[in-house]
Amino acid sequence: MVLLTLLAAVTLGIVRLRNLFAVVILGGIYSFLMASVMIVLDAVDVAMTEASVGAGVSTVLMLATLYLTKSQESEPTHTPLLPLFVAVATGAVLVIGTFALPPFGAADTPANTHVAPYYLENSIRDTLVPNVVTSVLASYRGFDTLGEVTVIFTAGIAVLMLLKGRRQVKPGPKRPRIRR
């Protein structure tokens, strides 16, 4: 609960700040906080991925982009009233919706009783892997993971194509490797 509040505070900072360098660093802090929340939520594998990919790789990518562009946001030219209204209205509707959701941590919700017990019961027998997340990701739903790899591959090719034709910046760094 404390972590979630900290998360909200960092988000407020990201919204308010105009120095993009600070925003990116706050984004890194946000990702680490998010990883801690994930550990509390028992999602250890996800927390590791978020800490390395969310806080590591994407922060580095953002910093590389900042190096190649400007790091100061200009003053806004429109009033932010309409976006603010849209955001608050959306949030209000969603908050009303939360009262129909089951309380946090309940075991007898449809999400937890439908198909998840099957994996928990049969994972050892089917795959001999004690970590259920791994066995679902790589064995039961291995085909989806292939699709994921395809998406990353496509994105990598697209990034390479976009950055290949660009003019060489004079003193600059060697081409930032945005491929992953």
């Binding site: 609960m1 998360l7 909200a8 990201i14 925003v23 990116v24 929340v37 939520l41 028992d42 999602a43 594998d45 996800v46 991925t49 978020e50 990919v53 969310g54 994407s58 990518l61 953002m62 590389a64 900042l66 562009t69 400007k70 946001e73 200009s74 806004p76 030219t77 429109h78 976006p83 955001a87 959306t90 949030g91 939360t98 959701l101 089951p102 309380p103 946090f104 941590g105 075991a107 999400a111 998840a116 994996y119 928990l120 994972s123 050892i124 004690p130 259920v132 997340v133 739903r141 989806d144 990353i152 994105a155 990598g156 697209a158 990034v159 976009l162 950055l163 660009r166 003019r167 945005i178």
Partner: protein, 121 residues
């Protein structure tokens, strides 16, 4: 007492909604493209939490099977979000590459200035 229980039961949802809405606000209200991408990733991470928090069972342990435990949290959201994180960073990388190219073509990454340059041509 009842109100307090209600707040604890839904506090995570409200924080998730706050994160989501601030991501939305940044994407709509800010003209700077890097800021927009940060907002987009805020929105994305809020969805990660939205998926993970219903899978948590109070008193449960991470879904790594062992003789000592009987109650595990739901492993399925973890699998989904693991995929989503990796795909998310791929899309962010693509967006940043586009920003670099836009900066070369227009000399700026502010939306308004780009639109103004476009009108002039």
């Amino acid at each position: 007492m009842n109100l307090l229980q209600e707040i604890i039961a839904h506090y995570n949802h409200w924080i998730i909604i706050f994160l989501m809405v601030s991501g939305l606000y940044i994407v709509v209200a800010h003209g700077n493209m890097i800021k927009k991408l940060v907002g987009l990733s805020l929105f994305q991470t809020s969805v990660y939490l939205l998926y993970l928090s219903p899978g948590k069972i109070l008193g449960g342990t991470p879904p790594i099977l062992s003789d000592q435990f009987t109650v595990y949290s739901n492993p399925l959201p973890h699998v989904l979000i693991l995929t989503a994180i990796v795909v998310g960073v791929a899309t962010i990388a693509l967006g940043l590459a586009l920003v670099v190219r836009i900066n070369e073509a227009f000399g700026t990454i502010e939306e308004d200035e780009i639109f103004a340059e476009d009108e002039d041509e």
